[in-house]
């Protein structure tokens, strides 16, 4: 059977076009702000005949920079997830009093400017002035000051600690919101079945907020990959490059006026960030599908 479909009336077409028209200015602006710099970066790398990439991968410390970047990203993401989850679960507890006050206080690290937080931690971890070392010495936990920011074996984890301090409140906020979406009946049913706290966490909470976890991990990874201020303020990438990650390398190249190397590092970061962005978009889509 053949059915004839009449062309959509003009009003319908206008109605369908309206969202596109409304979103067009923002889309054009975003394209200008994002596409032009990315294209300019690619053009600069290509125009240099690839010498920038050759220079980047010929740097004597390039392997260490990539390893540092991977370690820094993994460490700061895992740390922020663990602490953010713990904070959210504690704040969710019915036995906690003044939960709103605690939530507000715990958000402070995320609210204050990164440079302020990094400076506070730089002084806290200082070998000469640091109150952390002084406290550990007073408690008898260490015999001599730990060189948090000048020991190459420790420094990357010390600066990752600062990143965790800054970003864990974001995870806490996201997870807190996700936890409220879990029906209370599930917890009651689980308890009636004899489930303990760990079992509830493993079999109810974690699966229920899986998508939120994915979004948090990807967001934190992108932040860590683009993070510059904390490391620059705390260590300037030292000692001897032990805390140099890609954005720090990029800035050092910028300081030297080596624009080709700057573009090459930026391109590598764009590629890594692009992969994460695709994963992020897919996770978001899954989240939306689950919600609908």
């Amino acid at each position: 059977m053949t059915t004839l479909t009449a062309p959509p009336p003009v009003r319908d077409r206008q109605r369908r076009a309206r969202p596109v028209v409304l979103i067009l200015p923002a889309a054009i602006l975003t394209a200008i702000l994002m596409v032009i710099p990315i294209v300019a970066t690619i053009v600069r790398v290509v125009a240099s005949g690839g010498t920038g990439l050759t220079e980047l991968f010929s740097l004597p410390n390039v392997g260490r920079v990539f390893l540092n970047t991977a370690g820094w990203t993994a460490g700061s993401v895992v740390g922020a997830i663990v602490i953010g989850y713990a904070g959210a679960l504690v704040l969710q507890s019915a036995r906690l009093r003044f939960a709103g006050l605690w939530r507000g206080l715990l958000m402070i690290p995320w609210i204050i400017p990164g440079v302020v937080g990094a400076t506070v931690w730089r002084w806290t971890l200082s070998t000469d002035y640091g109150i952390l070392n002084q406290a550990l010495l007073d408690l008898g936990l260490i015999g001599e000051p730990v060189r948090w920011l000048s020991n190459p074996d420790v420094v990357l984890w010390a600066v990752a600690l600062i990143q965790i301090w800054v970003t864990a409140p974001f995870v806490m906020l996201m997870v807190s919101a996700a936890l409220t979406s879990i029906p209370a009946e599930r917890f009651e049913a689980a308890r009636l079945d004899g489930a303990g706290g760990l079992a509830i966490l493993r079999h109810i909470i974690l699966p229920a907020i899986r998508t939120t976890t994915g979004i948090c991990v990807l967001t934190l990874a992108i932040w860590a990959l683009n993070s510059f201020t904390i490391i620059w303020v705390a260590t300037s990438g030292g000692p001897a490059g032990a805390s140099t990650i890609l954005p720090v390398l990029l800035y050092q190249a910028f300081q030297n006026g080596d624009q080709v190397l700057v573009s090459s590092v930026a391109l590598v970061q764009v590629i890594i960030g692009g992969v994460l962005a695709v994963l992020f978009a897919r996770t978001m889509r899954t989240d939306l599908e689950e919600q609908t």
Binding site: T127, S150, P152, S236, P239, A240, Q252, F254, Q255, N256
Partner: protein, 420 residues
Amino acid sequence: MAEQGSTRPNGAKMAMRPRTQVFLGVVVAAVLAIAGTVVYNVAGSQESDNTVTWWVPDWDYSKAAGLVPQFEQQHPGIVVNLVQTTGDTVANRTAVALDSGNVPDVITESLARVRTYATKGQLAAVGDLYGQDMPVADFAPGLVDALTFDGQTYAVPYRWATNALIYNPTLFAAAGITEAPRTWADFERDAKLLTKGDVVGTAWPMKGDPSDLTLRFLDFAISDGAKIAGGTPQLTASSSEAAVDLIGGSVAQGWASRSSFELDNTGIRELFLQGRVAMYPGGVFDVDAAVKQGAPVATALLPGPDGPGTAQGVGWGYLIPKASAHQDAARQLVSFLARPENMAALTLTFPARISASTDPKFTTPQRQPYAVQLAQHSVPAPNDPRWTSRVQAVHDKIQEVALGRTTPADAAAQIQALAG
């Protein structure tokens, strides 16, 4: 309630809440205000053709603000627009401005970066400003030559200084040391004697700007036979090794602060003022700060291998970008600023012109060794962009020695390769 706004698909009108209307009104007003401000400023800047924009670092800003009215009074029709920069940001800001062509008319910039800009063809030649009123011979020896490339001079220096040795005479006396070290051997011996408890003999700026550390490295290397030719360091393996050993080795051995990795120039000065660093090569700024605070401070020539060491002269000067739209007015401003009395007023270290050095503020007892260091034991610092691009790598090699990860000889060989 009356319906208002556009029609919904089902025929109903889409209502806009009053609060949304207010919000949109505020947004539109803000956008119009910003646009109006931009248009007004653009139109205003086009109207005043003789407005000279001068980028001034923060430490000179108040003095510059005092000099500008004098200039404007003497040059009717020229208006000076002061824009404050900072020592940390001026390099990047200048580079971006010169690359983009959106430039001020006069920039106060580090002389070490003049060659970088000049080789890119971004600076106007200012050699014609030197003459009877501003003779080259009145500037520190070799200074104008160091700013002249292919027969053209690209800057007018106004401030010039070297490091010298700053020490705490109270700590020296307590350690039984009667005079400042003159040689590297004295320096090491004294530093070891002074290192006790919370006090360390010396410290090095291993954090922050990498050129702070490499400046000291080069001072020692030049004292031991390295040269600077055409703005480029000509290092020798032995001079590099000696310099790396003095800095990196001192940290590894513990007679320089192991927390040097966490210290920049300011950090070292703070520890000195607290009596926790006994001596260090530093600038005259630090001496002024110590005198102001009433801290025990004395100065001496920089130690060398066998006697006074050589220090690099570093300084600041005035540049006129080639893309400046007000070349004549900019030149008049630079000529005015380069007068001895104005140079003395703006200089916190030492003036680039000898005739400006008679100001009493340059002849205090603590500044005397600096004046001798500058006049008798100094050379202009390198300004070759190739060296500048290797500073971070050289800095890291010195740190490797300080961490005990490599030997001074190996680090020197790697630095030789980098510098070559």
